[in-house]
């Protein structure tokens, strides 16, 4: 079932990237996608971690929210750089997600918003470096943590 989903994702990617729709090219695409799925299945890569399809239903909502956050923090980072008032701080936060993929998504989201970077992680504790106490408070309110837990949808 999961290998079928992976096959169709790869095939859509092939069709969108190539732009040529002759029979030879499409059959070559089907052949190479099937070969990729075979190799992935043989390497036991097709599981919840390799193909996190449980993200998909809530993904769009999360991405829109994340883009809004990125825009806001881009603006504040620009202000901090122009003003030159840098008061960096380092602290730890706890991630409440269950699966490893969701934890990585949370850490990546923290790093993706400018002003906060995940510098180290141990099991479910992240060490976060923030440019300013405002950025630090944004992470410490756990809003993003709750959003990613909601995106994961396993609690």
């Amino acid at each position: 079932m999961k290998s079928l989903i992976l096959f169709f994702i790869l095939l859509t990617l092939w069709l969108l990237m190539s732009g040529h729709y002759s029979i030879l090219i499409i059959s070559l695409g089907i052949f190479s996608c099937a070969f990729c799925v075979y190799v992935a299945k043989r390497g036991k890569l097709i599981d919840d971690e390799g193909l996190p399809i449980f993200f998909i239903p809530r993904l769009l909502n999360y991405i829109i929210w994340l883009f809004k956050e990125i825009l806001k923090s881009n603006l504040s980072t620009a202000k901090v750089i122009i003003n030159g008032k840098v008061e960096p701080e380092t602290f730890t936060v706890k991630a409440s997600q269950v699966t490893d993929v969701a934890k990585v998504t949370y850490a990546n989201s923290i790093t993706l918003t400018p002003g906060t970077v995940t510098t180290k992680m141990q099991k479910d504790v992240f060490e976060v470096h923030a440019l300013n106490s405002d950025f630090g408070n944004d992470v410490r309110t756990n809003e993003m943590d709750n959003k990613v837990t909601w995106l994961e949808g396993k609690k």
């Binding site: 750089i81 602290f91 060490e127």
Partner: protein, 106 residues
Amino acid sequence: MELILDIFTGICFFIGSLCIIIGACGLIKLPDVFSRIHAAGMIDTGGTAFFILGMIFQTGWSLITVKLILIGVFIFFTSPVTSHVTANLARQKNILPLGKKIGKIL
């Protein structure tokens, strides 16, 4: 109609260039490694996002739009990884960040 799209493209390119210039200034101006990563992150997210948006206004609806969006998606997946690798390497070499540390850090 084309004029409006051109204006939108211009605005997007202007904001994107502004992001990249401010990020580059921050890369030189900020005090230590960890603070400079934030400036680099600003270039990665703000700069590329606005440039790709501007180019999408120029292409209209075609396969090239899909390819541009895919470029954006891949950059948004890979740029936090490089930021994290830089920060984590600095921490492994026992470089402590400037400023205050709240609570016990790892």
